[in-house]
Point group: C2
Chain length 142, copies 2
């Protein structure tokens, strides 16, 4: 199952040359059947553990940002010290578990589509994100 040409295309589409390091990143991001959420730290650890290859943080950031700008990754709006990304780039929303700091996809069956009646003059809507924060019942606010 060589997806290398797919990865190469994605990289070129994102304005990046297909290098060994970047292909490794693609493998981690785009070969799993299920989409997933990750932080840069998560991703770096996965690469180091699974692929026993060390990649510079700067390379990871650079590649992830290019993919995000191209639309191959989505950044989730969440207030956190870290940035969260999603390999699922279709329109969908999220639960955020405050107990575990975990993001959970919200299926389209679980929520009605959001209907926005007005927009800011001269501006175009780039995205609509719904974040539902949840926590155990017996949990204080923060």
């Amino acid at each position: 199952m060589s997806n290398i040409s797919i990865y190469t295309d994605k990289l070129r589409e994102s304005g990046l040359r297909p290098t060994r390091q970047r292909l490794k990143i693609c493998e981690v991001l785009f070969s799993p059947e299920k989409t997933f959420h990750f932080t840069i730290n998560d991703l770096t650890k996965i690469i180091e553990n699974k692929l026993s290859e060390k990649i510079s943080l700067a390379t990871v950031y650079n590649t992830i940002h290019a993919f995000k700008n191209k639309g191959y990754l989505k950044e989730i709006s969440i207030n956190s010290d870290k940035s969260y990304f999603d390999t699922n780039v279709t329109e969908h929303h999220h639960f955020f578990d405050e107990d575990t700091n975990e993001l959970i996809d919200c299926n389209n069956d679980d929520i009605d589509s959001v209907n926005i009646k007005k927009n800011i003059t001269g501006k175009k809507i780039k995205s609509v994100e719904v974040l539902i924060k949840v926590a155990s019942d017996n949990q204080n606010q923060n």
Copy 2:
């Protein structure tokens, strides 16, 4: 127009003693007629400029977090290097202007209320936030 007793109450409710510095913060946050959005940096600058008093960053953070935990301030979920807060603690949503990094209130007339049909087992919904990112038409993704 002395709101000092109101401020004192808010501070005590938040588990904080009413000190000179904290009353100054209250004045900036709660005396304006209109609610507003701010970052810690914004707030610190307002205090220094308007009140010609210097307050330690640690005090600002400490006070803002206590107010947030008590529900006198809301933190907006937005992916940014900084945290954004809102003195409007009623249920409402936001536009975020990517060109200017500005938050704009979304009136309840502008958006239908979000209907969530399913929840995570054993968890309670703490908040539902909608963030509508906008930018000029002729603007690239990032």
